[in-house]
């Protein structure tokens, strides 16, 4: 018990700001539930949906994903930190701690959601278990295997299939094809249980030998990142070749773009996609422009956060660009500003098309008239985003130190 208590204090002290933000968010959501919703109304009920209710659904979703992220960090640190391995039974105690946090959080979440609507509860639980499974798979890629042998590669493909199906079928509910629904959910739960048991066993026993370096069919998924990176390298090399032969006039712009955004940060995209997807599936049944408007705003915000993170996560990149590009400080700042804003807008724009397509497919009742306010909403958000992003980045880049202060502050702020 003393060890668990010590572990709790240790993990609270690391990432203190992140922990405090999570605690604050949970307090705000609890107050909203007690004082505004009461025991009769569920946060996730589609009846009497209001703007504030929607905002709280978004906050709640962000909280749950933030919590899973925090647990993932605890699991990784306890497994990878050499110093922590010196503590007896650290991994077992870490698992106890994670189970404790998850149980308390699930209990609290059921209180917030309300136990009145069993379908919402099932939907919520399955969705969260899916996220647990997803996070376990992320950990398993490099850390702790979730399979007992390398031969069970077929489960990885089943998991990929379920990653697409589960959020959709849990949102639609069992009404249309109850047997198929039960079959899919049960199969998913069995796979998850299997993953969990193996994960716990391998985590406690510190088994890393099962992570495959051989070319088995299962390792193909593990090589996905490699494939994507090879693609980016090839793409960058093509641009570099063109730059060398003088085919591109925008030499400096291309060089900055390759350094800052040449590669995607896959986990962050996954995180952003998860939030948007999770918020969206709650509203597939009843479409309303208001949640979509807020959803798009949230999405743009997260894209901005991701772009900011990409620019400042490695301060060496900015230093390298500044000392290597033959530009004055003023020109360099202008170029940086232009590249960053362009990246913001192109990312938001591309993903917006995907969101709109999903809206059209999932809401066949959406007639042509409803599209007009929708497009006005999106256009206004887009315009607002351009203004805010310009002001924000101008303030960050203009006449500042590149070496220490700014980057450290931004990274601290983000993490």
């Amino acid at each position: 018990m003393k060890l668990i208590f010590g572990t709790i204090i240790y993990y609270f002290r690391s990432y203190t700001k992140f922990n405090i933000i999570l605690l604050l968010i949970s307090t705000i959501i609890t107050c909203h539930k007690i004082f505004f919703l009461g025991s009769g109304d569920s946060l996730f009920s589609h009846k009497d949906i209001t703007f504030s209710k929607f905002i709280f659904i978004v906050i709640f979703t962000v909280f749950m994903l933030g919590l899973f992220w925090r647990i993932l960090l605890i699991l990784i640190e306890s497994f990878t930190s050499d110093i922590l391995q010196m503590i007896p039974e650290i991994r077992k105690n870490t698992l106890y701690l994670c189970a404790l946090i998850l149980s308390i959080s699930f209990g609290w979440a059921i209180f917030i959601i309300g136990a009145g609507d069993i379908n919402i509860l099932i939907h919520f639980s399955i969705l969260n278990l899916w996220i647990v499974s997803l996070f376990l798979t992320i950990v398993s890629k490099a850390l702790v295997p979730i399979y007992r042998t390398r031969k069970l590669w077929i489960l990885k493909w089943i998991f990929v299939l379920f990653s697409i199906i589960i959020p959709i079928i849990t949102a639609k509910g069992p009404s249309r094809h109850p047997r198929l629904y039960i079959f899919l959910i049960s199969t998913f739960l069995i796979v998850l249980l299997y993953q969990l048991i193996n994960f716990i066993r391998n985590y406690i026993n510190f088994r890393t030998d099962l992570i495959s370096n051989h070319k088995t069919p299962g390792s193909k998924i593990d090589k996905l990142q490699d494939m994507i990176e090879n693609f980016y390298t090839r793409r960058s090399m093509k641009t570099i070749d063109k730059l060398k032969t003088g085919q591109y006039s925008k030499r400096s712009t291309s060089l900055v773009h390759i350094a800052l955004f040449g590669n995607e940060y896959l986990f962050l995209w996954l995180f952003i996609g998860l939030i948007t997807g999770t918020v969206y599936v709650h509203f597939i049944k009843e479409f309303s422009p208001l949640p979509l408007f807020v959803g798009i705003m949230l999405y743009f915000g997260l894209v901005s956060l991701q772009v900011t993170y990409m620019v400042f996560r490695q301060k060496f990149k900015i230093e390298f660009l500044y000392t290597s590009l033959c530009l004055t400080r003023n020109d360099f700042e202008k170029l940086l500003l232009k590249t960053v804003i362009k990246c913001h807008l192109s990312r938001s724009y591309k993903t917006l098309i995907a969101i709109l397509t999903a809206v059209v497919i999932n809401n066949i009742f959406l007639d042509a008239v409803s599209f007009i306010p929708l497009i006005i909403y999106i256009a206004s958000v887009y315009l607002m985003q351009i203004i805010v992003i310009y002001m924000y980045w101008y303030n960050i880049i203009s006449r500042r130190d590149y070496a220490l202060i700014k980057q450290v502050n931004v990274i601290k702020y983000i993490s």
Partner: protein, 241 residues
């Protein structure tokens, strides 16, 4: 030597982070062809001084210049003549392969000595097809040094370049610097904790202590002052007592 021979100049440079003063009235002049070693304890301000010189940090007061140009607003032509190796080189997220990274770096400069780059890669046992992420800290440091050497700059600024290198690579690196200095009269400023390396390469030394430069001058003069029997490490310890 005239004023045009001065490559690096710091005049009454001061820099603080909040309440903590890191550099206080630093004066330093480095002339063309000099190899200057910068020594100081951890947190003495070596990196801050180097970054101030490069215009990566804003000075609280004083003036820093490279090739006679204000460091805060270096023109492009000056940057072409500059090779900088930072303390930490964990950039580019590791997704680029070594050869891709070097090809990418070559685009920044008007001239690029590919033969030299290939020779160094071979000499230092770096696999050009390896992803930057998969390299050890020492190998990353080697790649960063090669990146800075490819365009054959007139001035090198190294911030603890040998900290992660093995003794063989350190020797090879030092030999490379000496050759460069002899062949082309390249100017170099580098900070390090490994004083024995400084004794092999540097003619001049600057010692940072308590936010100030306590000594700037020839290594031989320093030894003469403290006794020929002492090596630089002993003198450094003596100074920091």
């Amino acid at each position: 030597m005239g004023n045009s021979d001065v490559i690096i100049r710091l005049e009454k440079v001061s820099k603080s982070y909040g309440d903590k003063q890191v550099l206080k009235n630093i004066d330093l002049t480095i002339k063309k062809g000099t190899i200057m070693g910068l020594v100081g304890k951890n947190g003495a301000g070596k990196t801050t001084m180097i970054k101030s010189l490069l215009g990566l940090l804003k000075l609280d007061s004083g003036k820093a210049s490279l090739f006679g140009e204000d460091s805060w607003d270096l023109p492009g032509e000056v940057k072409q003549k500059l090779g900088y190796v930072p303390q930490s080189v964990n950039g580019f997220d590791g997704w680029m392969t070594v050869d891709a990274l070097l090809e990418y770096t070559s685009v920044f400069y008007d001239k690029w000595n590919k033969n030299k780059v290939d020779h160094l890669l071979k000499d230092w046992n770096i696999d050009p097809k390896a992803r930057f992420r998969s390299l050890s800290e020492g190998e990353k440091q080697k790649v960063a040094i090669i990146m800075a050497m490819g365009h054959e700059p007139e001035l090198y600024i190294f911030d603890e370049p040998v900290a992660s290198l093995d003794p063989v690579a350190r020797r090879s690196f030092i030999k490379e610097l000496i050759d460069l200095n002899i062949e082309s009269g390249t100017t170099m400023l580098f900070s390090t904790h490994i004083t024995s390396d400084l004794e092999r390469i540097a003619a001049d030394v600057a010692i940072l202590k308590d936010n100030e430069l306590k000594y700037v001058g020839g290594l031989s003069d320093l030894k003469e002052k403290y006794g020929e029997q002492l090596n630089l490490e002993d003198i450094f310890l003596e100074l920091n007592k």
